[in-house]
Symmetry: C2
Subunit: 245 residues, 2 copies
Amino acid sequence: MHRFRISSIDQDYFLIDGEELHHLTRVLRLGPGEEILGFDHSGRLWRGAIREINKEQAVCSVIRAEIPETEAKVKVYLIVGLSKGEKMELVIQKGTELGMTGLIPLRTRRSVMKLEGTKAEERVDRWRKIAGEAVKQCGRVIQPAVAPVLDWQDLPAYLPADTQWLIPFEGEKTVSLKACLKSFDPSLPMALIIGPEGGFEPQEVLWAKEKLGAKSISLGSRILRAETAAIAALTIVLAFYGDLG
Amino acid sequence: MHRFRISSIDQDYFLIDGEELHHLTRVLRLGPGEEILGFDHSGRLWRGAIREINKEQAVCSVIRAEIPETEAKVKVYLIVGLSKGEKMELVIQKGTELGMTGLIPLRTRRSVMKLEGTKAEERVDRWRKIAGEAVKQCGRVIQPAVAPVLDWQDLPAYLPADTQWLIPFEGEKTVSLKACLKSFDPSLPMALIIGPEGGFEPQEVLWAKEKLGAKSISLGSRILRAETAAIAALTIVLAFYGDLG
């Protein structure tokens, strides 16, 4: 069944407008009487029937609330060193499908792309749109939040104080991701800090260890590109706790 | 240390030519006396010193054989329904980094792209080149083989008879990938059969079960794009057996 983000809801009706309305009427050519699923950012999902369509909106009557089972139980945030645009877009699309809770773009020392001011805001808007499209495609109902571009010192305040931080680093040869997960509490949030294309500088890893209590981990003997490391690490965490595969 | 595919080797010297020579001389501007790593398709790796460079080749003296630890112990093949070009390229690049043993492009009923004849050969050549570039980037020494484009009936003969086949399918709601892996023998090859963009038709899954003995599995409650499913399933298998993360 087709899914649409709704603009508002009361007890009996929900409304669809804007781009979602365009998609409903022009792309899918749905009309009155047809059943659809509506969702909002809160993670709630409703089955509804289209009652009326005008230029401004589609009015749908609520049939019943549906219980979505598409959200991972473990909360995993990806913190990704700024890399070239298409790599970040890939991570946001795949991360959303796989089940990440949120993503934070991070300015790092070796980030070639330095996003500031309105340019950063525009880029983040674009990334949020990509997350929104991926949410619909994969059947999720909660859109992972894409944070503004942050610096290292902004990280501690941005995520809950009990977050369990992990930083894959090629200088770490002994501790594996899976070994670390065994000692983690799956009821608390986790954050994976992934380097940019050129990797982290050792001082950055040291900072993460000292200020965030992050554990540096190895992803194995092959050198993964930044975007591959992000996708693989997220997959391993979600699969480890039974939220994927 | 920089790594180059070698064209030939005897006991004391190895040679580098063609594009690899271009990369060595023009891109990296290396010269006599510098140490490099040479590898061939057999999985062997040598440390060598450049002795002489001419227009045709670089002659390097062998310092010692190195033992690569970059190959996964478990052999995992990806069999991927033909999807649009850039998706297959992404799977080949990421699959190589992550540690796949080989990839087979498969004609399926819902494959929009139908590759035949010389067009198929050209495309496979391109995919092999992508695998070759990824091998160098990630530090592997064995290049995953990219097979010609095959049809379903070609599969049984193409992989060893004791291959353990898995087919992620959205119609499978109960058996997870991880549950299946618990009963598999990691010393035998595994093959993950991944659908094209539109997914498999149920008859194809039935065929895989009957003719290959494939087990259909679920990757979880979110709908993954074809290329995401390939990358995630491969990651989960390699991580499960300790070959990643």
